[in-house]
Amino acid sequence: MAALAVKVGDLPFRNPLLLASGIWGESGDSLLGAYTAGAGGVVTKSIGSAPRAGYPNPTVEELGRCGFLNAMGLPNPGIDAYPVEIAHARAHGVPVVGSLFGHDAAEFARLAGRMEATGVVALELNLSCPHAEGLGAEVGQDPDRVREITRAVRAAVRCPVWVKITPNAAAPEELARAAEEGGADAITAINTVRGMAIDPTLRRPVLAHGLGGLSGPAIKPIGLACVWKIWEAVRIPVVGVGGIGSASDVVEYLLAGAAAVQIGTAVAFEGIGLFGRIAGELPALLDSLGFDGPAAAVGAAHAGRQPH
């Protein structure tokens, strides 16, 4: 049976299924819980310089089986209070990727140093949250700022730096290229897609923030297309995320070019047990498709692909 261990660049994970940022990432117990349930690694909530309550509720809207809209507003305990949570997960050997958000290169660099000191195995720069003024996608839609922020973080730390890209751009692959130029070690794609819902009776947006981000099955085709194009645009590994809920979805992302994947919304549909279930199903699926492991499948749907 195919073994599941993968590497994102030089960084090993026991399997390619990582917990996506913002899901189960607030407490150390939850990070540990996702790993215990079978995740190959976990990404923290995006952490900023100061505690942030996020937007008022409603912060989430269910859209049937197609997914969710959310506008959490980057709630997080801040870089001073958060290390205790990471420490708890690290104490149990969980490979934790620390997600960060900030306003500019200097803030990102400062946060990166603090986050690296917690013992995370990599950093993920959230340049892609679609609903936070002056943060996330608002900085991440400009290739020059992506390059600049990545460069500043790259200079400030030794651990791998992943840059998380927004799909809300004419060509997300150009943002990925800018991150690569800035020295990123991997690209994570995608964050949520800008969306909204309106309540007809109350005549107002459902989310308190108005606009939010779409996640779940609805965006799987969008994430796949981004990973596909990014794989063709850069030579660093890609971590795929968006709408994954089955072993077959994972394989689609691997074939598009993802070296590993992240899973978020599907946790709400199935519970955290989905990590164990998918990790259990993946070896037989890879076998039946003729792959001796996840790595063999990476990018295999690109005609005349070059190993990369």
């Binding site: 607030e26 117990d29 939850s30 505690p51 942030r52 269910e62 969710f68 009776t201 978020g264």
Partner: protein, 267 residues
């Protein structure tokens, strides 16, 4: 899916607490909660205090959002999603309820279900003062035995409802204890019941945002209150340093109470 309901009835239960009733179809069990959207204000988790076709929530004025909720008039519209979470298991048993303040809101429909199932219900209810004791008459009407404790001694036992609970547990055999109220209170109930081997089930509150097991706002040790709770057996809660230890604020920071019972909803 979200539904919009109009408030069909409003009852001022205590000076700080009001019940809002509405017609809402999805079935619910006692112990479950709904996410209540107060348009333009916030969305709050609220236990259902009535679970029949005409459902209800019973809200204590705490901050801006719960305050606004208690002020809404009949006809006002709310958004609802849920019901979410697990429930009390109404079996034909001898049940002791220990409710503090608005915590009694979720125990009342559970008590009614237990009585309907042939159970015997004894309720120990706490409040800051006589006027703030919730649902004593409703529980009496349901055929429960009711004991009361108030902080100021204006009704029943002067002091903590946990004193009453300990007394009852010492004096009589119970098959189960159901409790909802401040965590320091529930922790005391746990400790009182433990040596007697009586199983305790507590309804726990935490910050909630998604109510879907995604956002981690309601993390409680290895659990999520929204999907694993809100009703937890004592065995799950006792080992947790969080339980009556710390909460998390909206940012996820750990918030340690300055003194036990600090929270004004304490019974």
């Amino acid at each position: 899916m979200r539904r919009i309901v109009a408030i069909s009835e409003r009852v001022q239960e205590t000076p700080s607490t009001a019940t809002l009733r509405f017609h809402d179809a999805p079935p619910a069990r006692p112990g479950q909660f709904v996410m209540v959207w107060i348009p333009g204000e916030d969305e709050l988790p609220m236990s259902l205090s009535y679970v029949g076709p005409s459902k209800g929530i019973t809200v204590k004025r705490m901050g801006a959002a719960s305050g606004r909720l208690t002020e809404l008039a009949v006809g006002a519209r709310l958004g609802l999603r849920g019901p979410y979470g697990n429930a009390f298991d109404p079996s034909p048993a001898r049940i002791l309820l220990v409710g503090g303040g608005s915590g009694t809101a979720v125990l009342a429909p559970a008590a009614e279900a237990a009585r309907a199932a042939g159970g015997e219900v004894t309720a120990a209810l706490g409040g800051t003062t006589a006027a703030e004791v919730l649902f004593a008459d409703r529980l009496l009407a349901a055929g429960a035995r009711v004991r009361i404790a108030t902080d100021d001694g204006s009704r029943g036992h002067a002091g903590y409802v946990t004193d009453l609970a300990a007394e009852l547990l010492a004096a009589e055999p119970f098959d189960a204890v159901w409790s909802c109220g401040p965590e320091v209170m529930m922790r005391k109930v746990l400790e009182a019941a433990a040596p007697r081997g009586v199983p305790v089930f507590c309804s726990v509150e935490r910050q909630m945002k998604c109510a879907l097991g995604l956002c981690d706002a309601c993390a409680l040790g290895p659990f999520h209150v929204c999907t694993d709770g809100p009703v937890f057996p004592a065995a799950a809660l006792r080992p947790l340093e969080e339980f009556a230890g710390f909460q998390r604020d909206a940012s996820g920071r750990r918030i340690f109470p300055r003194s036990p019972g600090e929270r004004s909803r304490a019974g």
